[in-house]
């Protein structure tokens, strides 16, 4: 698993990556009450706002970590947003992305690096 400074995790599955938010991010957000997912088939660029997530406190955007095409979204989150608090690094993935340029993955942190990043 790779981690971004935006508190997302990426797991490589063939030529796709699965994207979600970290346990740390979910804790910071508090109880999640709403998730708006992108359309499958959307082409996105790094840092595009692709997911809206609202907790009891506030709305936040999840950015596309790399360029690619959204191949699948986790529709279960729409009906059950609290999954993001229950299992952020497992069941509560947000979307799968077909990677345009795998080299964009190189800048991301490994688990140890991320743990050091969040202190």
């Amino acid at each position: 698993m790779k981690f971004t400074e935006e508190h997302e995790w990426l797991r490589v599955e063939g030529d796709e990556v699965v994207v979600g938010i970290t346990i740390h991010a979910a804790e910071q957000l508090g109880d999640v009450v709403f998730v708006e997912l992108p359309e499958e088939g959307t082409t996105v660029s790094k840092d595009d706002e692709v997911v809206v997530i609202e907790s009891v406190k506030a709305a936040s955007d999840i950015l596309a970590p790399i360029d690619g095409e959204i191949t699948e979204v986790n529709g279960a989150l729409t009906d059950n947003p609290s999954m993001v608090n229950d299992d952020p690094q497992g069941e509560a993935w947000f979307f799968k992305l077909k990677v345009s340029d795998a080299s964009q993955m190189d800048e991301f942190m490994d688990e140890a690096g991320y743990q050091a990043f969040i202190g």
Partner: protein, 374 residues
């Protein structure tokens, strides 16, 4: 955060694992480890304890109850003189334009009036009372008392376990209690839509009392986050958001709070700041009204969301003033102001969230029925 005030319960909040945030000049607990959603639901199911010591507590005293009540009626459009001993009422300070300077609770304690005002307004409120009422009336800010709310269906059992007389109180009554040896002033009221008490206690005994209350069955410490979602579901106004100096009581849908005796043709009509404007609003209606707003989808509509009369184009007819997720309601809930012609329950309108018009309906308040002990 060194310039912020702390309540006498600060150390206890930290010990309980609260996340402390700045609020109205105080460091206050926004949530505890339980989290906002569970804290909210716990209050509806059992009992929640809230530190509201940041609020202003003031005693007005004078020659007689008549003198105190008559004087206070010059500042609020409420029936104060008719308040029985040991009774409490909701009130509003108005300005010369009929706008609301603060909302408050006032109670008769013998010949004195006990007033509780919002933290963010307390300095101005105390100055207003002193300027208008002294020297005939003595205005004393009680800076050495904490205020603790215990709210929820389990509140009666928790408080009456410490003084059985608590169970005899009904909604909006006040009296002295002795809770495990600690003398307090209690009111059977609160701001969550639930049954419960607000307990005024000397600072020196606040922490000991709070520990005893938290030791009662089913009582959990609850932060400001859940306090906000509880009062929103209950349809209660947050001052500075849902009502402010530019909204009059009729616009704010607080007509019920202005008793007939203070309205036109009442025995003590007018005589408060902005009386003409307020009475004109009663007679002519207001151009806008505070209403409940029920978003159709799951997306919360928060403060500032613009409300339109069409799903595209059209005209802005209102604005959300409070909104979020209602944990007990089980979906997003909001309140705000809309033009009166769109304020009828059931009217379909649209809120613009992140550039998209999402459907909503004008809804009756409260979203969750009140559970008071009448």
């Amino acid at each position: 955060m060194s310039d912020l005030n702390r309540t006498p319960l600060f150390d206890l909040h930290v010990e309980l694992g609260a996340k402390m945030v700045p609020f109205a000049g105080y460091e206050m607990p926004v949530q505890y480890p339980l989290g906002v959603m569970k804290e909210h639901q716990h209050t509806r199911d059992a009992a929640g304890l809230f530190d509201v010591s940041h609020m202003g507590q003031v005693i007005l005293s004078g020659q007689s109850w008549q003198a105190v009540a008559t004087a206070f009626e010059t500042l609020v459009p409420m029936d104060v003189l008719g308040l029985g001993d040991g009774r409490q009422r909701y009130g509003l300070f108005t300005n010369d334009a009929g706008g609301i300077e603060d909302d408050l609770m006032f109670a008769r304690r013998g010949d004195d009036l006990f007033v509780v005002v919002n933290a963010a307004c307390k300095t101005a409120d105390i100055a207003r009372m002193k300027a208008a009422l002294e020297p005939e009336i003595t205005v004393t800010a009680l800076t050495d008392r904490a205020l603790i709310a215990v709210q929820g269906p389990g509140a009666e059992a928790a408080v009456s376990a410490m003084d059985a007389a608590a169970a005899d109180m009904t909604f909006m009554h006040v009296r002295d209690l002795t809770l495990d040896g600690i003398a307090v002033w209690a009111s059977r009221s609160g701001y969550t839509g639930e049954d419960g008490y607000e307990i005024s206690v000397p600072d020196a005994q606040a922490e000991a009392l709070t520990r005893k209350l938290l030791a009662q069955d089913g009582v959990e410490a609850i932060g400001l986050g859940a306090r906000d979602s509880l009062r929103l579901e209950a349809g209660l106004c947050l001052y500075g958001h849902d009502i402010d100096a530019t909204t009059n009581p009729v616009e704010g849908a607080l007509n019920w709070a202005v008793q007939k005796v203070r309205r036109r043709d009442g025995d003590r009509a007018g005589g408060f700041p902005g009386a003409e404007a307020v009475m004109a609003a009663f007679e002519n209606g207001a151009a806008r009204k505070r209403v409940g707003l029920l978003p159709e989808g799951r997306a919360p509509m928060r403060e500032g969301v613009a409300i339109f009369d069409a799903d595209a184009g059209g005209t802005q007819v209102g604005t959300v003033t409070s909104g979020g997720f209602g944990p007990t309601f089980g979906g997003p809930v909001a309140m705000g102001y809309v033009a009166t012609e769109h304020s009828k329950t059931g009217t379909p309108l649209w809120g613009e969230v992140r550039g998209k018009r999402l459907p909503l309906t004008i809804a009756k308040l409260p979203f969750v029925a009140a559970n008071f002990k009448r």
